[in-house]
Homo-oligomer: 364 residues x 2
């Protein structure tokens, strides 16, 4: 008793009701009552934007601590019509490349005082659509989407209304979205050129499917490099599984003109090919040289450290997030989205035939 604010309990409060009724989180007016001020004063104290007298501030501060008051972000978001959260939709979280991008996004978001709502589409366009809906219902202030690749995307500008969206890693037809990509084509062009430089004439390309944007773009780089060198293409699409890859590779290697070098267009294909080569008893780079698109943890530990094109995953995430926050801040949706294409690097190790003991980086 005798506490500051004692006399300010509203008359209509039931006798048993103390400052912090059990089982209910303290609200701003609880704090206000305890501090003997109006709720608005507490609000202003919290926002810091409007001056509050020192004396009052102290009382409010004490009340907040006493009640362990935490502002209700839900109410804030509801009231303010903005949630201060962004959504991220990616195919899989366990893909190291996606995870790294996402990590960068969350870091930027934190820097802007934003929360990140995350979900996975499992590469399914329907799931992706549903999750986008879900995020919009949650009134995220913006979205970063790494679109699922199978079937036709269902993401359109009209779905998102005035909510900014940044499309990531794989473009979608709608021109109005901001998009962040990497140099898929010139990267693979560079690395195939490197293989050509080693004197290879028969360089095989392996990939999952030409219907995938990134894979196709990488294929085009390979094609261009081969054409420029006056060499004949040797292409296999269909690295669905270890078995398919092995079968395809075995057939080619047993042919009269087997490839002397192989270029794999993503990590999975690289893995499959390495296993297949091991299975076939072929040494890298002695029997076949190997180079791949996309670096991965452990690429330096393989029997022959891999030469690869490295994508700037962190940078991609950062750029995408910054682009998004710019849009959120500006509040305007462009008719034509910004397209950013980030450079990649070639990491020269030994699988291509180079002799370096340590990796060499080359911008591509």
């Amino acid at each position: 008793m005798g506490e500051i604010g004692d006399g300010h309990i509203r008359a209509k409060a039931k006798p048993k009701e103390r400052f912090q009724p059990i089982n209910r989180k303290p609200t701003m007016s609880d704090v206000a009552r305890l501090a003997g001020v109006g709720a608005m004063t507490v609000s202003r104290f919290l926002s810091g934007a409007v001056p509050v007298s020192e004396e009052t501030a102290k009382r409010v501060q004490i009340a907040i601590e006493q009640l362990k008051y935490r502002p209700n972000e839900l109410a804030r978001a509801f009231r303010g019509q903005k949630s201060r959260s962004i959504g991220v939709i990616i195919p899989y979280l366990y893909d190291p490349f996606f995870a790294t991008c996402t990590h960068a996004i969350t870091t930027v978001a934190r820097g802007n005082g934003y929360s990140v709502l995350i979900t996975t589409s499992n590469e399914d366009t329907d799931t992706e659509f549903d999750e986008a809906e879900h995020m919009l219902q949650h009134h995220v202030d913006g979205l970063v989407v790494l679109p699922a690749r199978y079937r036709q995307t269902r993401l359109t500008r009209s779905l998102f209304g005035r909510t900014p969206v940044v499309i990531f890693d794989r473009p979608i037809p709608d021109e109005s979205f901001d998009t962040v990509l990497v140099q898929n084509t010139s990267g693979s062009h560079k690395i195939v050129e490197h293989l050509v430089g080693h004197g290879h004439k028969r360089i095989m390309f392996l990939g999952l499917s030409r219907s995938l944007f990134t894979i196709n773009a990488r294929f085009l780089g390979y094609r261009r490099a081969m054409q420029e060198a006056g060499l004949q293409e040797d292409v296999f699409f269909g690295c669905q599984s270890q078995e398919d890859t092995l079968k395809a590779l075995e057939e080619r290697m047993r042919s009269s003109k087997p490839p002397t070098a192989v270029f794999t267009s993503n990590t999975l294909a690289t893995r499959y090919v390495m296993n297949a080569l091991y299975h076939l008893g072929l040494r890298i780079p002695g029997d076949v040289a190997l180079a791949g698109f996309d670096d991965f943890d452990g690429a330096e530990l393989t029997s022959s450290p891999l030469t690869v094109i490295r994508q700037p995953a962190q940078e991609m995430g950062r750029v995408a997030a910054n682009l998004l926050f710019e849009r959120i801040t500006r509040g305007e949706i462009p008719r034509t989205g910004t397209k950013v294409t980030l450079p990649v690097e070639m990491v020269i190790r030994r699988s291509c035939g180079c002799k370096h003991r340590t990796p060499v980086l080359v911008s591509a």
Copy 2:
């Protein structure tokens, strides 16, 4: 004109205001007005819990589609005092193990109609604390936390109040939290036993620091296995970097009684050791056998496919999320949390000296 509901526009509506005023997302009452019903009818139609006449339902349905109405989850959450979202705090998203766990958590969450708010602590206890605060302000209905390991944790039951929390992978002192772990000790015991079975007498242990729960637990498994075999320990803590690891390993390998086998207690140590051995010109398993805790993508591609203990990352995530949702549903916070310890598997490849061409799984 003549449209159903035309006559129901409230008189007080300004003349220019049509059903969907530009630049404002449609609300439930917009829908209600257009359908010529009360807002509650729309609410009930949406919830599906209370019957609505077929005729009315149709009108509401049409109005919803016409306005492209989307329920405002923010308002729902605010109103209902629950956000239908859970929070996940992990050290790094780009750690494949963490990412895989998180993926499983998001999958379970989606199954329950929940959203996932995710953030990273960067292994910093202060960041972790702040982020936990932040999530609580967002009124998440529950949290899964993979605690940062350095310094003392600042997470306590009182911080979270009545919000359920599941602690993950690394326990913290507070007994009241539900916790999901794996068999760190018995897993490493098993794999060291396996090395002993190969006839090794001098088996070295390498790890980052004994102050880390998981590393210490794995060390204890090593210690027990060595004691049981009557062998002498050979331990190095301090695999901070490639250099430190190389230095320590080099010294031991040049000694009069060099280890004939090495057990590494996490992926990073494994990587460092592999690089170091390569650098020292030692072959695996010819010169030194190697076995590690924690499997990783590509472990089968290394010059000598690695024998490892595999943690059930997906399963861990699933179990943790399910535990959390049980608590959320029940709504009661236990005095003493449930402790779940999941089994691990030994994946026998060739780095230990086994001759299998394909991996062999052994429960540990």
